[in-house]
Amino acid sequence: MPRLVHGFLQRSAEAHPDKTAVMDGSRSATFPELDSLAGRLAGVLKDQGLKRGDRVLMSMENSIESVAAYYGVLKAGGVCVEVPDRSTPSEVSYYLENSGARLCILSDASARRLGPVDAECVIGPGVPAGREGARRVSWEDVLRAPDYAPREGLSEDDLAAIVYTSGSTGRPKGVMLSHRNLCANTQAIVSYLGLTPSDRVMAVLPFHYVYGKTLLNTHVMAGGSVVINNRFAFPNTVVSDMIAREVTGFAGVPSTFAILLNRSVFPKTPVPSLRYVTQAGGAMAPALTKRLIGCLGNAKLFIMYGATEASARLTYLPPHRQDKLGSIGIPIPGVEASIRDDDGFELPPLQVGNICARGENIMQGYWGDAAETARAIRPWGLVTGDLGHRDEEGFIWLTGRIKDMLKVGGERVSPREIEDAIIESGLVHETAVIGRPDEYLSEVPEAFVVPLNHETFSLDDLKVFIDGRLAPHKHPRRWTVVKALPKKPSGKIDKEALKT
């Protein structure tokens, strides 16, 4: 039997027929209900002419329907092209054109925001959507459709998803992930997190983002439950929901935890059911990580590292190795990570080089972009674009992204090191350091800071603190105090937006 992503849902529907798979506000769906809804959608897609390998664009906020749509597309033998639900019409036009998707599944909110998208058929919204002449299928129609069996003959090498990822240059690239890629990564995460049917994760991260998607797939595979909460704008409601729903797991990116720790009741509100917390999506300042651990009680913190090109996950820091805090840990099961020079030669411990990885989770390449694929996937594995070193025990330490590293007067400077020091001051909620061209030094660091308390914040105090922490060439030459930092839909800080 080939490992197929929608097989997770089918197996859990058989093994846990009465179990709630997804909670979405006041609504919920059991595994069989979700599997049946996905089956009906698969039938609609087949009726609308979907062939094996056809791409389907999806723009939906997290919901029972978005989950059913994901597994439904896969059951029909299609490829999910999930894009942020806040995408603009021109971004969606690019995704449609680039992926060649002719079918779309939209939420009402996305349909309203996007207006008439250029697809042959639009499924989902109860409001007008799609260009003139486009076929429209509502969720009511989907509910009335027969529950089809999954398409036969699919193999592990069939594509399951194209995930668009922004680089520092050019348009977003479509990362091609096969069923094998996603199944291997999901299985590895379930094993190191020790997920069981009694686990219940709070999902505030969007499912179109690979980290968000791992929450869904791992819990569906393990027979656990996923609690959807799209209201992180009010973090206190998420904390109350975590308590009320007795969640055992929570996942966030650094800005999620910065908000929870700095502007919510989380630090003084224990969540007794919490068993584990994961953090990925970029390095979090060690000072913030220590504060987070201090708030978690008995819950374990898993710091993780990965890339869209790796289906999501590459390494994790086992919670009992807090002595290695600041490291991205060790490879997850099934992944082989190495530090190499530009020619692919493996470097000895403590030498900084390219972080590379091999494993069943590594992408098939970039959609329609052989040149970029050849740059990213070398004979020695995926070149992540991150720099780092291994210590004597095999733990990997991240130095920064190749393209983010600054060259200040000939010396390499890591923006992350400066950011960590700024956060350590305890004066700042969030920060981002970028490079600015400089006539004499070629590049100098510029820091954007969001004060913890705008009333009492003193930039001079922060400068004094940095003076005692970093060598002069690492001192930001320009400081900009801002109310907030621009964010990508995943919640990560958008440094490109700061450079413009």
Partner: protein
């Protein structure tokens, strides 16, 4: 319309609605669900309310009942003695 309400609407328009002419500011529509503000936007709004009206907003007060819609914000400011 009271001046403080105008100031709130102006802040939201200037900071979150820029260039999106199709977004109407209905006082009873969720600023989050309508896509006007996200989690960072709420924090920006809180910072604006604190500095502009010289009030202190506790973490416990960052709830939808106080900040989700323009009507809620107006009610919340009144409860803080702003008129």
């Amino acid at each position: 319309m009271p001046e403080f309400r105008k100031a709130v609407e102006r802040f939201i328009r200037d900071n979150f609605v820029m260039g999106r002419s199709n977004v109407a500011l209905d006082p009873d529509v969720s600023l989050i669900e309508s896509g006007i503000m996200d989690s960072t936007g709420v924090l920006e709004l809180v910072e604006f309310l604190e500095s502009n009206f010289t009030i202190r907003i506790d973490d416990e007060e960052l709830v939808p009942e106080n900040l989700e819609t323009i009507s809620n914000i107006v009610r919340f400011l009144r409860s803080k003695g702003i008129a």
